[in-house]
Symmetry: C2
Subunit: 342 residues, 2 copies
């Protein structure tokens, strides 16, 4: 970014035109997009799923090590992840941003390049939003909209006793990526040494450019699976399985030796003397799908390499526990992301 | 507010439970509300309208003279106004807030009391959102969702040459309210004198507790009127009629002597040596509906005291003008709200 164009020089309406001029609508359900008081959608007999997230600089992201393009991509993806977690297909987003005068038109172009890349990858339309100045920091609000066949949405509250607990992908990597970047930032601030991210592309990528599990929802359709409950892992496995148990009025048992890890991430955890299991349980931001299925669906999932069966649902009065590799039984505690961050 | 409960003492999930525990769903279209990854709605064959706004402390509101309850009410109403401006009926909202540790649970209770009061008045359901801490200031993001009979929505782009230009209610009051409150704040800061708002309830009310024109949309249905174009007045009459003209590829003529004013507001404007017409054109935040209708609908609107006919649509090459009381013709300029604020 060599050039710096002040936003004031093109004005609010000029900025909106500039940022949205290349939008091509991809979904037939997007009837009216950017540029009116509201957008109009028609899901033609399907039901509509909506979710929203607020992302604030200094709380949810650190611009000192987050490229704006990645931030735009991630801001969209984490919202789409919520739509998938309802067993729905995202179709539209609304995006509002607040920015201080530190931000140039070129910087917003970078951010929007990431936003549009995510829209392209996940086939969603940007149909509205708001732009504003802020007194301090960059503020992002995304509302994602999706569609689902009537009454095929999956809530957190449907888990049944003896259901299998499954998770997609690998756990704990995003937290390790954050730990690495925070460490390198500290070293840079103290010594001026450039970050050493050698060989850590996987964990850094998982933090800075996560993907939502569109493929898992497509697998459910092909395999004719409707999970009994589902949530995306944003706060950490521990916190999120407890959401399912609380809302389903059940307990659960998880097996540490079934947790899926990336080998590279595991090595890095040991190097930092961190327990990969703790990273999975309390790390958060993995954006994997955590879901329960009846035992009768076991055959359908067992050969899918993207899915790991990590435990089962129990009666509420049995509580929620982790069985360690050594065979010990520990109660699960919801610590969540913020706890570890501090 | 005598008591002060720190938000940290009840935690994020405790706070969400606390703020949402009394929600009663009012609309059949709200299938799944607060408490899952996403909310689910079904407009049962009607189309869905969505709109979103970001409100930032120090930019959009000043907590030194804005009661939190009023702020909650207004944050909802300004979004519903956008839904009405599409000729749709609002049904749901999503609400995200970011707050610093200056804010207590009791303060958020005040804010939510206003939010729920607006939901009650306009019959909409709060079905989701996000809560977060912020580094500085109070941040509000509202997404409003509404429904409309298939293809009955009204865009900004449908105005035709010779259409009548109509506006609901009265203009300029909100700007005068802001001027008064900013003046009293300055006096208080300089001299410690308590605000003198005597006799100014109308203009202060219009700024702090605006209402959205649900009644006008209901009138359209009863009178079987579908406007050719519509927008809500948030930036000022001048800026907003120019949006309609630009998107409809037309010009317009407005008559100063047809502008609707509140008598009390007009008196106050003269007292401050402000021109009420300038307040209407550039003041903004009136949240009245500005719309165009074919001349054949003249009989339907002429006896409605809530609607004023203030001009007509011309060909694009004739430009956009104001005819003053003295008979002079001035080109309309989009100055907008922010311009006047500074």
């Amino acid at each position: 970014m060599d050039q710096r164009t002040e936003i004031a020089s093109i004005g609010e309406f000029g900025l909106i035109d500039h940022l949205t001029k290349n939008i091509e609508i991809k979904n037939a359900s997007s009837l009216v997009g950017v540029g009116d008081d509201g957008a109009v959608i028609d899901h033609f007999g399907r039901q509509t799923v909506v979710s929203t997230d607020l992302l604030i600089e200094g709380i949810h992201f650190d611009l000192s090590y987050t490229p704006l393009k990645h931030l735009g991509y991630k801001a969209v993806v984490v919202n789409l992840s919520d739509i998938y977690a309802m067993n729905a297909i995202p179709t539209q987003i609304l995006l509002s941003i607040g920015f201080s005068n530190r931000i140039s038109v070129e910087a917003l172009d970078e951010f929007y390049a990431g936003v549009y890349a995510a829209c392209e990858t996940y086939n969603v339309d940007l149909i509205g939003g708001d732009t504003s100045t802020s007194q301090k920091g960059f503020i992002i609000s995304v509302t994602a909209i999706g569609e689902v066949a009537p009454d095929s949405y999956v809530k957190r509250s449907g888990a049944q006793v003896n259901d299998l607990i499954c998770v997609s992908g690998e756990l704990g990597s995003a937290f390790l990526g954050l730990t690495l970047l925070e460490r390198e930032k500290r070293i840079f601030e103290e010594t001026g040494a450039q970050p050493d991210l050698e060989g850590q592309a996987q964990i850094v990528g998982r933090l800075l450019k996560p993907e939502a599990r569109k493929d898992i929802i497509e697998f459910f359709t092909e395999a004719e699976i409707i999970p009994t409950s589902m949530i995306d892992i944003s706060d950490g496995l521990s916190s999120d399985i407890l959401h399912i148990c609380k809302q389903s009025n059940t307990g659960c048992v998880l097996y540490e030796d079934k947790f899926p890890f990336n080998e590279e991430a595991k090595e890095f955890a040991y190097k930092l003397q961190l327990d990969p299991t703790a990273c999975a349980l309390s790390g958060g931001e993995d954006y994997e799908l955590l879901f329960t299925i009846p035992q009768s669906d076991f055959e359908k999932v067992k050969s899918n390499p993207l899915v790991s069966i990590i435990g089962y649902i129990t009666a509420e009065n049995e509580g929620s526990h982790l069985i360690t590799r050594g065979g010990n039984k520990h109660p699960l505690v919801a610590q969540g992301w913020n706890h570890l961050k501090r």
